[in-house]
Symmetry: C2
């Protein structure tokens, strides 16, 4: 047994290894079911090291969220800053997002399915990340709206669309994972068709109108639904 002693590594390196392990375990088990002993073991280290470096289980989780969140935001932002119309940039950002969650499933799970539960500091960190992405998207939508000053839409509408968009993208990560034939690009294309095309119509004044609240027949207003373009 030559390697009874584990190699000593500088703190900076060990910390990352611990976070690596934590992301995997948290992702697989969830925050509460995850046990610190398992994380330390997977990191090839003993438990007190985790507490020495990360302070507490909560601190460890926050570190995971922060690191993975930054990676995700960076991926989105770097794709979406390339010049072009808001439309093109949204396309690029969404594609990058779907690619990220495909390639880093664990990271995404940690950032994702852990909203309720979890004490204040953790939810704060998660909310921060979410807001960060949403802010990017919202800016793009605002730009898109601003190109048509006559649309009558405003920041409130952009904010609504952002939530819908982010929520849809969120849910579609599962769909993507379960359909091997689909790619980040194909999913993004579908989304753009569903949502952006609709928005463009609305910007053009081509809106949907609810049926008469009493009973009457469909009350479609200015909807040229009749023939294909």
């Amino acid at each position: 047994m030559s390697e009874k002693r584990r190699q000593r590594l500088p703190r900076q390196v060990r910390e990352q290894q611990i976070i690596d392990a934590a992301v995997r375990v948290f992702s697989q088990r969830g925050y509460h079911a995850a046990v610190v002993d398992e994380i330390s073991e997977l990191a090839g280290i003993s438990k007190p090291m985790v507490y020495l470096y990360l302070g507490s289980k909560e601190g460890l989780f926050v570190a995971c969220v922060r690191r993975e969140g930054e990676r995700l935001v960076t991926a989105f932002r770097e794709a979406a800053v390339t010049g072009g119309t808001p439309e093109e940039r949204l396309w690029a950002g969404l594609t990058a997002f779907f690619r990220f969650v495909t390639e880093h499933r664990d990271s995404w799970v940690v950032l994702h399915r852990q909203a309720a539960e979890l004490g204040e500091p953790i939810t704060a960190e998660l909310a921060l990340m979410r807001r960060s992405v949403s802010a990017e998207v919202a800016a793009l939508l605002r730009d898109g709206i601003a190109l048509r000053a006559d649309s009558g839409l405003g920041d409130h509408d952009a904010e609504f669309a952002t939530h819908a968009l982010v929520g849809a993208a969120d849910a579609l990560t599962d769909w993507l994972a379960q359909h091997p034939g689909e790619t980040p690009e194909s999913v993004t294309l579908r989304m753009m068709n569903m949502i952006w095309v609709g928005m463009r119509d609305v910007l053009n004044g081509n809106t949907w109108t609810p049926p008469a609240t009493t009973d009457g027949p469909p009350g479609r207003a200015s909807a040229p639904d009749d023939e294909a373009g």
Copy 2:
């Protein structure tokens, strides 16, 4: 102190009271952070009663999910079965959904933010509920698509749209909660405008095309983005 003794009630009634209390506590604290003692106290009863009637903490949670889930599905279905076009029925169902989550916040939180974590029996129950709602929506979208046999779209597309729609609705419950000016109807109207209008366009062959992958200028295809309607 006259009422030292608590009134005795038949099992059927107490069970519902226990579930009432559990929904509130689970909703507020989350599954793991919730403590059975608190639930029993809120139900005006001692802890062993909970175990006698519901078996375990997990069984208690499953009972909550089942009851509240059925309420939600019923609300949606009853609104959406009224005759009319798929469009109208989707409108009615979504409105009922948003109304439900507005009026039963606790129920929704229990059904919602508890995906990862939680052992197999619980996730199974949650998945069942979600699938139940999705199936309703998917049927409506398929009907909508079927009205245009020439669109080239199929069940796969309906399924995609369902996930996007459900995910968006999901995320918009938060948005609705934070904007007192909005109502279930107004949110539904916004959604229909964003998504259904877009889908209608796609059905008409008016699709969105991604920019050229290399670098070239925007490669919009058949997108009459030029002037307002």
